[in-house]
């Protein structure tokens, strides 16, 4: 779970024109609510469906994408690496400027 840094990014940029939307791909959707009660998150929390998973070819998680203001995909990365937060911030900043 890479909550903390995405949460930070969301809080920092939501007033500046960028948001974080998290889509849970849990098959057991009813587990997401209780999980978020224990791990609250201010980002936009969404529940997946097979159409969106197919359209974005979700094969492994976490899958992170950044979509620009015109709806174009500008970043896509599966997995998590320690330097990723800086990278994500950089892409967002570049798109906001």
């Amino acid at each position: 779970m890479e909550f903390p840094h995405l949460q930070k990014i969301h809080d920092e940029y939501k007033g500046k024109g960028a948001i974080v939307a998290m889509i849970s791909i849990d098959q057991e959707r009813y587990k997401v609510g209780p999980f978020l009660e224990k791990n609250p998150n201010s980002a936009l929390m969404l529940l997946s469906n097979s159409e969106v998973e197919s359209a974005y070819k979700v094969q492994g998680i976490p899958l992170t994408l950044i979509i620009d203001q015109k709806g174009m995909i500008r970043y896509r990365h599966t997995g998590f690496s320690p330097g990723q937060e800086t990278e994500l911030r950089g892409v967002i900043e570049a798109l906001l400027n």
Partner: protein
């Protein structure tokens, strides 16, 4: 890719327990005679009891009585997957004799699929559909083929279509209900249909419960309804293994651990060998750094998997040690069991045994990154316990070497996917930080300063900055110390107060020239500006490499049921993250 943080979806579905269920059935193509059905039902009972040979005999008899009896063929073939190759000729001959039979084309496809001949399998399923576009089993198979290629939407289209042509085959309907779990309304309808057709087909209950829970996101009312259903089954048919299995799954859905444990005991009382047989079919897979998959199968794998949940490391150790004796496959031992043993010894502060395991791993030919991580875990435990520091430093030096080698290789390969060598660099920075801590502990201040400086150059981390500041203080280098400590402070993280306290102790007379508060504010500003610039430069380079494509439109729901479309967010930069609670 770091192993522990990357999971393949397919693996988790692979771990789902296969449900066998006893039930009567009817079949829409040419209906099997009552005698064939009886033999088939007997076979299912044998399978549930683990009597595979007897079951296969019954299935063979059922097929002889009713040659187009799909359910019987399926069980016959699926229970002999290891011999899939040997059935090819036989089923090819059947197709030759009945070239216009959708059933035989489907069955040949099933044989090919079990033998891992995917393309031939798909071709046969297509032929079956050409002959009979409404043949439910072929629709199921084509959907499954799409699903395995990652196209869930197309898969669901075929499965939904199969629902309308499934007739009164409870086996087919039950599989569809389970496959369609993300389409909870369809899943619920199918599961309820199965139970209408055959109230004894209890494997459909958990599918129904899960669909209901998904539909209402686990509302208290649904929970109460499901619990009532479970308790009714539990009291009515407390001796039936299939019922108990469904009941146990029900308690799992409700996350009622007491219920799960209670039913487990009941199952053991009815059939002491039940879980042993389940464990025979268990398997787990683990992706290692190079992306290769390691599969661990059978009862030992099941025990290993369950031991991960144990709270007492001593109990874990007992399980892992036993499993180690039973397992033969080198990869499983080296990538799964020895690392688990090592980590458990570290939890128990047993460094001697941990070092012994490391000796084995040193000779195992592990991938560099895997070995490097384990070595640092070992070294970190020594540092925590402040013992065996010599050994810790040896291990850590080796891990630093391994990370350096890994970075070189990754860079020369000109990695296309971003993050490959960045990950190794961040890891090397951590290893060097650990080295600095170990050297400081040994009183080797100058060497520690060198390691910490290199670590910070690779990746600025507050911990390393703080330790570097403290090392400079020890060496009497005040100016350098103040620089490193104010850097540590500027992260605004958990080391902030510690850094500030050290600065206050050593800042002294300098306060007059420039107050400490001003220095700290400047350090924070500088760091922010530096980070932003670095991120921008790097990200612009990354973005330039990437092909710009339109993001597919989607519509999903929030937890409160509100619909959200991607176009609703147009005009904003959207960071989209797919995740899961597991």
């Amino acid at each position: 890719m770091p192993t522990s943080l990357f999971r393949l979806k397919a693996l988790l579905t692979g771990l789902a327990i296969v449900c066998l269920a006893v039930g009567t059935l009817a079949f829409q193509q040419s209906k099997p005679s009552p005698e064939a059905k009886e033999r088939y039902n007997r076979a299912r009972q044998y399978l549930a009891q683990g009597e595979k040979d007897k079951a296969l005999e019954e299935l063979k008899a059922a097929i002889e009585l009713a040659p187009e009896f799909v359910e019987a063929h399926r069980d016959y073939l699926d229970n002999q997957r290891d011999k899939a190759q040997s059935f090819i000729e036989q089923y090819e001959a059947k197709v030759k004799q009945n070239p216009n039979s959708a059933v035989f084309h489907y069955l040949l496809g099933k044989v090919y699929s079990n033998a891992d001949r995917r393309e031939q399998a798909d071709a046969e399923f297509q032929k079956a559909l050409e002959i009979d576009p409404n043949f439910g089993w072929a629709l199921l198979a084509v959907g499954t083929s799409f699903s395995s290629k990652g196209d869930r939407a197309k898969a669901i289209e075929f499965w939904e279509k199969a629902r309308w042509t499934a007739g009164d085959s409870v086996v087919l309907r039950s599989i569809l209900a389970s496959n369609l779990s993300s389409k909870y309304a369809s899943s619920l309808e199918e599961a309820e249909r199965v139970l209408q057709l055959d109230p004894n087909y209890v494997a459909a209950y958990p599918i129904k419960w899960q669909a209901k829970m998904n539909m209402t996101l686990g509302s208290p009312q649904t929970r109460a309804e499901v619990l009532k259903d479970i308790q009714r089954l539990e009291t009515e048919k407390a001796k039936d293994i299939e019922v108990l299995k469904a009941v146990q799954r029900g308690y799992q859905i409700l996350e009622d651990q007491d219920g799960v444990e209670r039913v487990k005991k009941t199952i053991l009382a009815v059939d002491p060998k039940y879980f042993e047989r389940q464990d025979q079919q268990f398997y787990m897979g683990m992706g290692i750094d190079s992306g290769k998959m390691i599969y661990f199968r059978g009862p030992a794998a099941a025990r290993y998997f369950r031991a991960e949940e144990l709270k007492d490391p001593k109990e874990q150790l007992a399980v892992y040690s036993q499993v180690e004796k039973e397992v033969q496959e080198a990869d499983v031992k080296h990538y799964i069991i020895y690392p688990a043993l090592l980590r458990t010894y570290l939890k128990l502060d047993d460094l001697d045994n941990a070092l012994k395991i490391m000796e084995i791993l040193d000779k195992a030919g592990l991938e560099d990154q895997t070995l490097a991580r384990l070595k640092d875990e070992l070294a970190r435990a020594c540092l925590r316990l402040k013992t065996r520091l010599d050994a810790a430093l040896d291990q850590n030096k080796r891990s630093v070497e391994l990370w350096r080698k890994s970075i070189k290789e990754l860079e020369s390969k000109d990695q296309k996917e971003s993050g490959g060598s960045a990950y190794a660099r961040a890891q090397l920075a951590q290893s060097l930080h650990l080295q600095g801590q170990l050297l400081l502990e040994q009183g080797l201040t100058e060497q520690a300063i060198a390691a910490l400086n290199e670590s910070l150059k690779l990746n600025e981390q507050e911990g390393a900055a703080l330790d570097l500041g403290l090392a400079y203080l020890k060496a009497g280098k005040q100016e350098e110390a103040i620089g490193a400590l104010s850097l540590a402070y500027s992260f605004d993280g958990e080391k902030k107060q510690e850094a500030k306290a050290a600065l206050e102790r050593s800042y002294g007379e300098r306060e007059k020239a420039k107050p400490l508060a001003t220095l700290l504010a400047e350090a924070a500003d500088q760091r922010r500006a530096r980070m932003r610039q670095a991120a921008l430069t790097k990200s612009l380079a990354e973005m330039a490499k990437m092909e710009v494509k339109p993001a597919p439109e989607f519509e999903v729901e929030t937890l409160s049921g509100k619909k959200v479309k991607l176009t609703d967010l147009r005009g904003k930069v959207v960071l989209l993250n797919f995740w899961a609670t597991w």
